[in-house]
Symmetry: C2
Subunit: 159 residues, 2 copies
DNA sequence: CAGGATAGTTAGGGACCCCTAACTCTGTCA
DNA sequence: TGACAGAGTTAGGGGTCCCTAACTATCCTG
């Protein structure tokens, strides 16, 4: 007997889950229209996704009703959000990328990386942070390194 | 006039491009069967992809003929391969992930990250490598850090 | 309460990507 | 040379995801 299979959520459905999680956090339940705006998608696409999420037991949804996540849905969404934040933090705080570039990249890459790499990335961020407290700021050192490198490149290109 | 649009290659077609690039490098032109094996895909799917790549001017292909890349195709493929290698190198040499896990993750993530982040990642690998030569091996330091952290976690979980 | 604005849904269709089954082509070996 | 094996293709179909257009429900305000 198998009431609920674990069907490897698609990247797209993960995005919907994440959006609902974020929107439902701010208010009480998400609105279809806001999900559509968040994901830059037509409202009708949201309806379809909600039906899929309901079938998988991840979202509480009935036509014209307000949208919340089930317990398993919340768990899954939280994991996606966690990945997202770890990636964004790595891009911003270690690599020194702009927040909005990091945001977009995290959104795409979060579907591609498994727990092994995500775990190490988190660990790495902690390592870099501690290096900062220990007076050997790896992130800052790298930023200097990168600046001088790319500066040299740019000068070369201009010649 | 615009003879050749640049249609944002899909992740799937990028994978085909990469496979052809790698296979054609080893011998003279790739074989459909080997592409199918490399990508774990049916042979008929390869035919479809080849037609798409030909239409985009990226692959030289005619039915039953041998498969090579055009000049623009090679350029694009080289860029994909470059991304792939940078990611894999970061996963292996900085994060200390197993080669095969890194390989798979790089394959998925390479489609998600833009030039800005890839560039910085490359820079970061160089930085870590130099830190090694300078007697302050960031990668090694991190591996120790990660080991002690995950060790502590494991011990905690066992208690 | 009526009617309009807005939100949400359904219907229908397209793009992409993959599959299996059945066919055709090609090269090789007796 | 003829026939077989294996490579490659075509036909047909399924799944996902998205869109527009048109319809329906809901809400709010006069």
């Amino acid at each position: 007997m198998k009431t609920e299979s674990e069907p490897q959520l698609s990247a797209s459905l993960e995005d919907y889950l994440e959006a609902i999680f974020n929107l439902a956090g701010e208010s009480e339940g998400a609105r279809s229209k806001d999900i559509a705006e968040t994901l830059s998608v037509a409202r009708s696409s949201v309806t379809g996704a909600l039906q899929a999420l309901r079938e998988k037991g991840l979202a509480n949804y009935r036509p014209y009703g307000c949208i919340t996540l089930t317990e398993p849905g919340r768990t899954l969404a939280a994991e996606v959000v966690r990945k997202h934040n770890i990636l964004k933090s790595f891009f911003v705080n270690v690599l020194g990328v702009d927040a909005d570039v990091a945001q977009q990249a995290a959104c795409k890459a979060e579907h591609a990386l498994g727990p092994e790499i995500i775990g190490r990335l988190l660990s790495f961020i902690k390592y870099v942070t501690e290096s900062h407290r220990n007076g050997r700021d790896v992130a800052e050192e790298f930023r200097q390194f990168h600046k001088s490198r790319s500066g040299a490149k740019a000068r070369k290109a201009q010649a």
